[in-house]
Amino acid sequence: MEQMQLIKRTLEIRKGGEKAALATIIRTKGSTPRKTGSRMIVFPSGRIEGTIGGGCGEAEVIAKAFEVMQKNTPCQQRVDLTKGLFFEDGGICGGIMDVFIEPI
């Protein structure tokens, strides 16, 4: 079950003593690449597991995830994908999503 897989990974990562952050889409409006509940794990190196849709929206969340790891406190990030059709990064969605980012 894909939904469980990334949660399970967070347990393994914590057990291994590694630092990382978990990002979860908790709310979407309009057309977004992935649905509520999609997850992504971000490591300090910038490596990711899972995806919340790719593109610059994901990059924003990755940047925010570094902060979360540093401060060790969770936060929320709103990702706005309404910038325009065929935007240069190839994102063609037109929605907004809220992402909850928590340290692992």
């Binding site: 939904q3 469980m4 347990l11 908790i26 709310r27 509520t36 969770p74 929320q76 065929f86 928590e102």
Partner: protein, 277 residues
């Protein structure tokens, strides 16, 4: 999420129970943000090591009830003791139960694909040489039992998908005889077979059951994609199961959009052509 809570979530899903995972995503007390709990449709509630205050807990359960009824994930925001609390409630649906009766050639790829697609897969056959773990390492459950006994006692609901891939039409008849007389009908029953075999089965059952009983019976099984080999047949069967589960047409997605594509999608059309060449 704590190991303990994760284990509970895993166990709950394994027991085919719908479960909600709650995460506090906003709270005036920063320590509470990220706290997790599990909520079941019957009202059962379970928190991590640091329990939430009983006020918050009651509010949470009440606020999440809409989502529980609708069986969907969502975020709720509410006022509790003058503070705004936000909670993300994620729905973990109990997996659908796929029962494959008849552990022959077609059953192998079907069981495998069933797992791939997130079903809880049970393989049942009355022959030990067929219904065993070596042949079905991926199935959740392999049962060696008479079809009659199994289908008389197994729990059936709209979340149960049944495939009759048995070796002979008499096994189909006695399985259907048990299944069609149930108070709760399966969401899907697919029966493999030639026209002759199918008409034989219907002949034997028709006197005993009204026509509506056969509404959820799909036979011959699968979508019309010219499947020949066991793997191809499995694709055809699983595609039909998804079509029923998702209540879709089973047509090619391109059928609707092709004519628009020919006219050229506005600004993107040029780019698409370049990419594909």
């Amino acid at each position: 999420m704590s190991h303990n809570l994760f284990a509970k979530l895993e166990e709950s899903i394994k027991n085919r129970k719908d479960t909600f995972l709650l995460t506090i995503t906003d709270h005036p007390d920063k320590e509470v943000i990220g706290a997790k709990a599990l909520l079941w449709p019957d009202g059962d509630f379970c928190t991590e090591a640091s329990p939430l205050s009983s006020d918050v807990k009651d509010h949470l359960i009440a606020q999440c009830s809409k989502l529980v009824i609708k069986k969907r994930s969502g975020t709720v925001k509410f006022l509790c003791n003058d503070s705004i609390i936000e909670c993300f409630a994620e729905y973990f649906p109990a997996p659908l139960h796929l029962i494959v009766a008849g552990a022959g050639h077609v059953c192998e790829p079907v069981a495998e694909m069933g797992r791939m697609l997130g079903f809880f897969v049970t393989v049942i056959d009355d022959r030990e040489d067929y219904a065993n773990r070596e042949r079905f390492p991926l199935a959740n459950e392999v049962v060696c039992q008479s079809y009659l006994h199994y289908f008389r006692h197994v729990e059936v609901s709209e979340k149960t998908y049944i495939l009759l891939l048995t070796r002979g039409h008499k096994y189909d008849v006695l399985s259907l005889n048990e299944l069609l007389r149930r108070d709760h009908q399966a969401g899907y029953i697919g029966m493999i077979g030639s026209r002759r075999r199918i008409s034989g089965v219907f002949e034997e059952l028709q006197q005993d059951f009204p026509n509506e009983s056969f509404d959820n019976l799909y036979t011959p099984v699968g979508l019309d994609i010219g499947a020949e080999t066991p793997a191809e047949i499995a694709v055809s069967i699983m595609a039909e199961i998804l079509k029923v589960k998702n209540q879709k047409s089973g047509n090619s997605l391109s059928a609707h959009i092709k004519k628009y594509a020919k006219m050229g999608f506005h600004e993107g059309a040029g780019k698409w052509n370049k990419c594909s060449s």
